[in-house]
C-alpha cells in the first residue's frame, strides 16, 4: 500500500470521509473496487493491530481442515491480511463435502494433532462435543487478554450464536444453562423456495403459499410442456436429506423429531402431524421430483435449478443465491420466496444449517488457533466476505445492516433480502440436540427412500422408523 492510499484509508477509518469518497479517491489512484476492498480490509487490519496485540503468536503456523465452499474461498481470499496482521502462517487442506465429514471424523477420532481448527456444522458438534474432540470456546471469548476488544461477540445473531452452544445433556435446549460454546458461527442458511422466474412467467404461475399448494403447483409444472420437473429436494441416504426443506416443513406442521420424557428421549416422528406432512412430501417427490431423487444431494438439487432442469427447489436459500450467479445457465432468472408449509400457519419455520469453526482438542497451539478463529469470525472479515465475496448469509447483525452489502444483494439478487427477513424470525435448529443425531437422521432418510419407492406406506414407514430409533436410543442409554 502506498502512503497516499494509506492516508485515504486512514481518513475513512477515522470518519474523515464517506465510503463513496474513499472509493472515488482510490479509483483515481488506479485501484478498482475489489482491490479497493482488499486494501480497505488491510487498512482496517492495521487499525485492529493498534488496539490489541495481534502479534502475540508471530511465527507460528496453524493448519486448517476446510470444506470446499464459498465461505472457505472468501477466507482464503482474505488470508494475507490475517498473516500480515499476526505474523502467523496458515496452511489448509480443502476437501469436497462428499468426503469432508468423514475426513473430520477420521482426524478427530484418531486424536490427530494435524489440524488446529476445522469447519463444522452445528449438528456435528453434538457428536464431537460429548466425545471430547472439540474445545469449549467460552473461556477464550470471555478472556480479554486473548480476545480483541472489538470482537463483538454479541453482534452475532442471538439464535445462531445459541445454536452452536449446548450443555451436552441429550434433549437440553441449545444455548441453555451450562452450555458450552463448541463452535463459532461463520455463515448460515435457512430453507425457503428458490424458483425460476422465467419458467413461472412462461407458465403464468406464482409461488405456492403452502405445502398442499406446492404439491399441486409442482405437478402442474411437471405435466406442462416446459420440459422441466417441478421441484428439487434432496434424497440421498444421508442426514443431509432431512435437515433442509423436509424438517422445515415438518416443524411448520408442529411435528417433532424426538420428545423428552423424564430426561429420556423418545421418537416422535410418527405423530399425526408428521404423517400428514410426510405423506404430502412423498407424494410431491413421486409426482414432481427428480427421477433419480434417491441419489440427490444439495449439489444436484442446486445445479438442476441453475441449469434450468427444475422449476424450483425447497432447500437452502443460499443455494438459490449461488445458482443465480456465475456461469449458470439460469443466472439472473432466479427468485426467492419465504415459505409457510402448513395451511393457516402464521410464519415460516425454516430449520437452520450453520457452517461454523471449531477448535480441535488435539491441536498443539490452541491460543494461536484462537487468534485465527476470532479473526475469521470477526466483523472485518465478515464485511469483506459479504461485500466482495459470497460469504452469505452473514451471522453478524452489523453486516446485515451494512448498506454496501444490502445494496449489492438487492441489485444482483432481487427478493433475496425480503425472503430472508420474512423467514428469519421463525428460523432456528428444529432438531433435538443429542449424540445420535447422524444415526437418527440417516435412518430417517432411508425410511423416506422406502416410502417414495412405495416399498412401505407412509404411516407404517414412520411407525417402523420410530420403533427403530427408540430401540437405538435405549441401547445408548438415552431412551
Amino acid at each position: 500500500m502506498t502512503t497516499k492510499q494509506k492516508d485515504t484509508i486512514d481518513r475513512f477509518l477515522k470518519g474523515g470521509m464517506s465510503r463513496r469518497e474513499m472509493i472515488e479517491r482510490l479509483g483515481r489512484m488506479g485501484i478498482g473496487a475489489a482491490a479497493g476492498a482488499y486494501i480497505l480490509n488491510q487498512g482496517m487490519t492495521e487499525a485492529l493491530a493498534q488496539e490489541f496485540n495481534w502479534k502475540a503468536h508471530e511465527g507460528k503456523t496453524i493448519n486448517l481442515l476446510l470444506n470446499k465452499h464459498p465461505y472457505a474461498d472468501a477466507m482464503i481470499a482474505n488470508l494475507e491480511n490475517f498473516k500480515s496482521l499476526t505474523g502467523m502462517n496458515v496452511t489448509y487442506d480443502v476437501f469436497p463435502e462428499d468426503v469432508y465429514f468423514d475426513k473430520v471424523a477420521a482426524a478427530l477420532s484418531s486424536r490427530s494433532s494435524q489440524y488446529d481448527a476445522f469447519m463444522t456444522g452445528a449438528y456435528q458438534v453434538w457428536q464431537y462435543g460429548p466425545a471430547g474432540w472439540v474445545e469449549d470456546l467460552n473461556e477464550y471469548i470471555q478472556d480479554s487478554d486473548q480476545t480483541a476488544p472489538n470482537y463483538a461477540w454479541d453482534d452475532m445473531l442471538e439464535g445462531i450464536r445459541k445454536s452452536t452452544a449446548w450443555s451436552g445433556v441429550p434433549g437440553a435446549e441449545l444455548g441453555g444453562e451450562d452450555s458450552k460454546q463448541w463452535a463459532l458461527p461463520w455463515g448460515f442458511e435457512l430453507n425457503s423456495i428458490s424458483y425460476n422466474r422465467r419458467i413461472f412467467d412462461q407458465l403464468k404461475v406464482e409461488p405456492a403459499k403452502d405445502l398442499p399448494e406446492l404439491v399441486e403447483l409442482a405437478k402442474k409444472i411437471t405435466d406442462s410442456d416446459a420440459g422441466v420437473y417441478g421441484i428439487g429436494v434432496r434424497g440421498s441416504r444421508s442426514w443431509a436429506t432431512i435437515h433442509p426443506g423436509y424438517l422445515s416443513a415438518f416443524a411448520n406442521y408442529g411435528a417433532k423429531d424426538l420428545t423428552v420424557q423424564d430426561g429420556m428421549l423418545k421418537a416422535a416422528m410418527n405423530s399425526p402431524e408428521a404423517k400428514e406432512m410426510t405423506a404430502l412430501w412423498v407424494k410431491m417427490i413421486q409426482e414432481s421430483g427428480p427421477k433419480n431423487w434417491a441419489t440427490y444431494t444439495w449439489y444436484q438439487v442446486g445445479t438442476d435449478l441453475g441449469a434450468g432442469a427444475s422449476a424450483m427447489i425447497y432447500d437452502a436459500d443460499i443455494l438459490g443465491y449461488f445458482m443465480n450467479g456465475g456461469d449458470n445457465k439460469e443466472a439472473g432468472n432466479l427468485a426467492y420466496s419465504a415459505f409457510t408449509p402448513k395451511p393457516g400457519a402464521e410464519a415460516p419455520t425454516p430449520n437452520v444449517w450453520i457452517w461454523s469453526l471449531a477448535m480441535s482438542t488435539f491441536g498443539g497451539q490452541k491460543d494461536a488457533t484462537w487468534y485465527f478463529m476470532q479473526w475469521a469470525s470477526g466483523t472485518d472479515h465478515a464485511l469483506f466476505g459479504a461485500r466482495k465475496m459470497d460469504f452469505v448469509n452473514p451471522v453478524r447483525q452489523s453486516v446485515w445492516k451494512d448498506e454496501e452489502f444490502r445494496s449489492r444483494i438487492a441489485k444482483s439478487y432481487p427478493g433475496y433480502i425480503e425472503q430472508f427477513e420474512a423467514s428469519s424470525p421463525g428460523s432456528k435448529i428444529y432438531f433435538t440436540p443429542q449424540p445420535l443425531f447422524q444415526t437418527v437422521t440417516t435412518d430417517w432418510a432411508a425410511a423416506l427412500q422406502k416410502m417414495v419407492a412405495n416399498e412401505i406406506p407412509v404411516d407404517e414407514g414412520l411407525d417402523e422408523l420410530a420403533g427403530n430409533i427408540d430401540r437405538q436410543l435405549k441401547a445408548a442409554g438415552l431412551g
Partner: protein, 309 residues
C-alpha cells in the same frame, strides 16, 4: 605376523557358526513384521467387538463379551445385509467368470488383433472403482445419461437405475462387471494359453466335437485357474464398498446395505466402534469359511491330478 596367524583359525569358525544360526531369523524377520502388522489390528478389532464402545457416548464404554454379536444376530437388518452381500458376491463372481471365460476363449489364439484387444479390454481395470462409479452415475442419469438415452430408444422410459430399489442391484452389478471382468479374463486367458497342446491336437485329429473338447478337456484342465480367479473375486466382492457407496450409499432404503457399507456407516456416521468391529468380524468369518471351501476344492483337484499322473 605370528599373532595374526594364531588368531585367524579361532575367529573364523565363530563367525561361520553365528551366521547360519542367525540367518533363518533374519530371513523370517520381514514376514514376522508383516504378521505383526496384520495381527495387531485384527486382535484390536476382536477386542473392540467385545465392548460397547461408542466414541460420542464415552460413559457407556464397557466389556460386554458377545452382546454385540447377539444384538447383531437378532437384528433383521443384519440378516438382510448377509443376504445382500452373499447375493452380490454370487452374482458378480458367476457373471464375471462366465463373461471373462467367454472373452478369454475368443482371444485364446495369439494374434496381433487379439493381443491389442486383450490390452484394450484391461483398461477398465485401470480405473479406480470409485471413479468408475461416478462415470456410471453420469451415464445412467435419467436426463442426460447416454445409457438412459439408449434404453429410451428401445422404448424403456422412466428407468431409474440406482435410484430405484428394483434396479439398484442390477445397476451396481453392471459397474462391478465392467470394472472386474477384465481381471477374470486376463487370468483365464493366461491359463488357456498355458495349457498343453497335445490333448487338443489329439482331439482335433480324432475329429472330436468342439463341445466335447470344451467340457471334457478345456474346462477340467482350466479348473485350477477358474478356482483361483473366482477365489480372488469372491474375497473382493464380499468386501465390496466403493462402488456401492459411491452409487447409492447402501440405499435406496437398505437395498444395498452390504457388510462394508454397514461397518463404515457404523464407524464414521454413528461412531459405534464396537458394532462396526463386530460386523467386520462376521465378514472376516464368512470370507474365511468361503476361502477354505475354495482352497480345499482346489487341493482336492490337485491331488486328483497327481493321482491321474
Amino acid at each position: 605376523m605370528a599373532a595374526t596367524t594364531a588368531t585367524q583359525p579361532t575367529a573364523s569358525p565363530r563367525k561361520s557358526r553365528l551366521g547360519p544360526a542367525l540367518l533363518p531369523y533374519l530371513l523370517s524377520l520381514p514376514a514376522l513384521l508383516v504378521c505383526i502388522g496384520i495381527i495387531i489390528p485384527f486382535f484390536t478389532a476382536v477386542w473392540y467387538s467385545l465392548q460397547r464402545y461408542n466414541l460420542n457416548l464415552p460413559y457407556l464404554r464397557g466389556f460386554v463379551w458377545f452382546q454385540q454379536y447377539i444384538d447383531l444376530f437378532s437384528d433383521p437388518s443384519f440378516w438382510h445385509t448377509v443376504q445382500v452381500s452373499l447375493l452380490y458376491t454370487a452374482l458378480t463372481v458367476i457373471l464375471e467368470l462366465l463373461l471373462g471365460l467367454g472373452i478369454a476363449l475368443l482371444l485364446r489364439r495369439p494374434s496381433t488383433l487379439h493381443n491389442i484387444m486383450s490390452i484394450a479390454l484391461l483398461l477398465p481395470l485401470m480405473v479406480a472403482p470409485a471413479i468408475a462409479s461416478l462415470m456410471w452415475k453420469l451415464m445412467t442419469h435419467p436426463d442426460f445419461g447416454i445409457l438412459s438415452w439408449l434404453i429410451q430408444q428401445v422404448g424403456i422410459t422412466n428407468f431409474r437405475w440406482a435410484a430405484a430399489p428394483s434396479s439398484a442391484l442390477f445397476t451396481v452389478l453392471l459397474v462391478d462387471i465392467w470394472v472386474y471382468t477384465p481381471f477374470m479374463m486376463i487370468l483365464l486367458l493366461a491359463g488357456l494359453r498355458g495349457l498343453p497342446k497335445q490333448p487338443f491336437e489329439a482331439a482335433e485329429l480324432d475329429g472330436v466335437p468342439a463341445s466335447f473338447v470344451f467340457f471334457r478337456i478345456t474346462l477340467p484342465m482350466l479348473t485350477p485357474y477358474i478356482i483361483t480367479a473366482a477365489l480372488f473375486r469372491m474375497l473382493d466382492s464380499i468386501q465390496q464398498f466403493d462402488i456401492i457407496y459411491a452409487m447409492t450409499q447402501g440405499g435406496p432404503g437398505d437395498t444395498l446395505m452390504v457388510f462394508q457399507v454397514m461397518a463404515y456407516l457404523d464407524f464414521f456416521q454413528n461412531f459405534n466402534v464396537g458394532r462396526s468391529a463386530a460386523v467386520l468380524m462376521v465378514l472376516w468369518a464368512i470370507a474365511y469359511l468361503l476361502s477354505n471351501v475354495f482352497i480345499k476344492h482346489w487341493l482336492r483337484l490337485r491331488e486328483r491330478a497327481r493321482g491321474a499322473a
